[in-house]
Amino acid sequence: MKSKNKKVNILIAEDDRISSKILEKHITGWGYDVLVVPDGKKAWQTFKKNEIGIVLLDWMMPEITGIDLCRKIRNDKSGKYTYIILLTAKIKQKDINEGFAAGADEYITKPFNPIELKARLKAGKRIIDLLEKLHKQAIHDGLTKVFKRREITRILNEEFQRAQRTNQPLSTIMLDIDHFKKVNDTHGHPIGDEVLVEIVSRITAKMRAYDKIGRYGGEEFIIILPHNSQKSIKKIAERIRKNISQKTIQTSAGPLQLTASLGCTSTENIEASSAEMMIKISDKALYNAKNNGRNCTVVV
């Protein structure tokens, strides 16, 4: 998961096969993963199918020119930022201006100098890595490292639509730590933070690899469980609840006994028309669990 070690995929779009062979040899030699295509149309298809960090675009290509492709990539808001380097034999100032106006980050004149290209790719990778880091910070809760509310809501919307499309069940669990305010009031916020981190670790220990968790509020979490049937949701929720309550939590202020209440729902149970509706119903179930004396699971 460390972005530092993550390889950046580079897409080379170049119709001159000699130039693309030279580019491929150098760039793979520098440790990047490379995809090579001979025209703009294939470049666009490859770009849409793969996670591309850096694109090297020849300006003059059949089908779609490099400059048009550059505009297309910039207008595409579906993915992460792509660093675009235009490869060009055009060195007139007006052409360079046009390249930058189309959204290129850099341009390299042909025939390229390998040392210069290496340095430019390194600069591109630095920007891609930095954006990736910022993106991770933006979507993850700093303390517990789970998704922030906005991101988990976005994920739930996506999963909800997928579930509708594929006719697969989808379940959600809303979890709230019981009497958490007391921990903060009695022992202070740093101890409260320790408790939150440990509880998240106990929750995730009982989740499947493709389940997702987000911090919905202060001590409230939402867990998204794709392909999960009504039958198994209660079992999973109970496993999570027991994992929290069965053992005391070791904190700097000594061992603390904590419990949690869980409200669950599944698309199999309800006629949810939206992700928001699922949240509302899970929240209602959680409310019922609280009213039932806490430290329990309610499925609606």
């Binding site: 119709d15 001159d16 096969r17 000699i18 130039s19 062979k21 030279i22 040899k25 150098h26 030699g29 003059m60 034999a89 042909k110 025939p111 100098n113 390998p114």
Partner: protein, 114 residues
Amino acid sequence: MTEKNPPIDFDSALKRTGGDKDFLYELIDMYMEDFIPKYDVLTKALKEEDFTAIQETGHYLKGSAANLSLSFLKDSALQMELAGEDKDIKKAKQTLTELKKEFDRLKTYISNMD
């Protein structure tokens, strides 16, 4: 091998292609393989006065020649590109002869190297 104006600057091409001689030879073969159909495209384009094709093919040949430090071929291909841009059929015709002459010179030079 002691030709006064060799068609290829071998050291520069080798540097550009990462110092791998076999790879460079492979690319030169590729260039020669590509040249013939491109030459045919140019001959046809000249006959039909298709200036876009003249310009594009000239541009393509210029780029690949530059990558392999084939400076004479690169210059001729550039002239072809410009002739296409300027819609100058007379210049294009002259340049086509020049281009072929340079290509034959490269072929002879390479076969003497083998």
